[in-house]
């Protein structure tokens, strides 16, 4: 839990962004992230569904397992200045392959494919347009932390404003913005820079 100083995120990896029209006619953006992990789908599945594992890497806490379809689970956003709790229902849980639920109004879809002895993990998540590269950078760091957790060397989760203070975050944010062909969001905002 004390190795944050020694952690440096790697370069931006594969990520895609997709724009759809929502039912209300508004733009709906989806961020698609892929990470290859050197651990079995069963092990990765546990890290995605078990509250004790989620607490070590995910940007939210769950008060129950996400591994059962139909289960109602409260997700609490951590790291933000205010705790935000949203109740979610697991809509799909095909262990250890596909997991779907909502986080607030956002769809979360996880897909796990066996790859050699490891897993190719893909996440589809909705995101506000202006936060696409920030979200990609945030999830990138979460996946790095997940990888270390699976390797038995947990370093403790790095989420929310804490992740942004992190050296590699700015770089990742800029790299993903470039990858997506969007402007780097103004972070920190000018008012905060002055102080």
């Amino acid at each position: 839990m004390t190795d944050h100083e020694q952690y440096t995120p790697g370069p931006a990896s594969r990520a895609q962004v997709r724009k759809d029209r929502g039912q209300n006619g508004q733009e709906k953006w989806t961020l698609i992230l892929v990470r290859e992990l050197r651990h079995s789908p069963e092990k990765v599945w546990q890290a995605l569904t078990d509250p004790a594992h989620l607490r070590e890497w995910a940007p939210f806490d769950a008060d129950g397992s996400l591994g059962t379809v139909g289960a109602t689970v409260k997700l609490t956003t951590v790291g933000a200045p205010a705790l935000r709790v949203s109740e979610t229902r697991v809509t799909r849980a095909d262990a250890p392959k596909v997991l779907e639920y909502k986080w607030g109004g956002f769809d979360m879809r996880w897909e796990l494919e066996a790859l050699g002895g490891g897993t190719r993990l893909t996440l589809w998540t909705n995101i506000g347009r202006r936060f696409i590269s920030m979200g990609a950078a945030g999830w990138h760091i979460c996946f790095d932390v997940l990888e270390r957790l699976l390797a038995g060397e947990p370093i403790g989760r790095i989420v929310g404003p804490e992740a942004m203070k992190f050296g590699g975050w700015q770089r990742l944010n800029a790299e993903y913005a470039k990858q997506f062909g969007i402007e780097t969001p103004n972070w920190p905002p000018e008012a905060a820079q002055k102080s």
Partner: protein, 132 residues
């Protein structure tokens, strides 16, 4: 212990940010998103490290009912202090805001009330001791 952040609920954070910065003249202070949540605050340029006003998305039915009720009763959701309420009234009105009360003398202060376009009334207050 300090009062550092206070909140108003808004029905649209992008619209609120435009109103609170471009019309009222505050500056964006913090804007980040984590999953479905967006933490958005503004601060006064006269006091960049002063109290922040969080523009919180009103997707909470209980808060929505409260917001609508106090709006209908003419109660302000937030109050800002100024040393020139008449000047601010002119300036903000010129930028298209709708005032429900022009600068009006009440005991000890002059107040004005405007709509923030996001479901709230905002009161501007100039205490008598600031009058010129």
């Amino acid at each position: 212990m300090k009062i550092k952040v206070t909140s108003v609920y808004v029905d649209d954070q992008d619209k609120a940010l435009r109103f609170y910065t471009e019309v009222l003249g505050f500056a964006k202070k913090t804007d980040f998103s984590q999953g479905p949540y967006r933490w958005l605050t503004v601060a006064s340029p006269e006091e960049p490290d002063g109290t922040e006003l969080q523009l919180a998305l009103n997707n909470n039915p209980a808060a929505k009912a409260y917001q609508q009720a106090i709006f209908q009763q003419g109660q302000p959701a937030a109050m800002f202090f100024t040393d020139d309420v008449k000047g601010d009234h002119e300036r903000i009105k010129a930028r298209g805001a709708e005032f429900t009360m022009p600068p009006t003398d009440v005991t000890g202060s002059t107040i004005a009330m405007l709509k923030d376009t996001c479901g709230n009334l905002i009161q501007l207050t100039q205490l008598a001791r600031y009058s010129r």
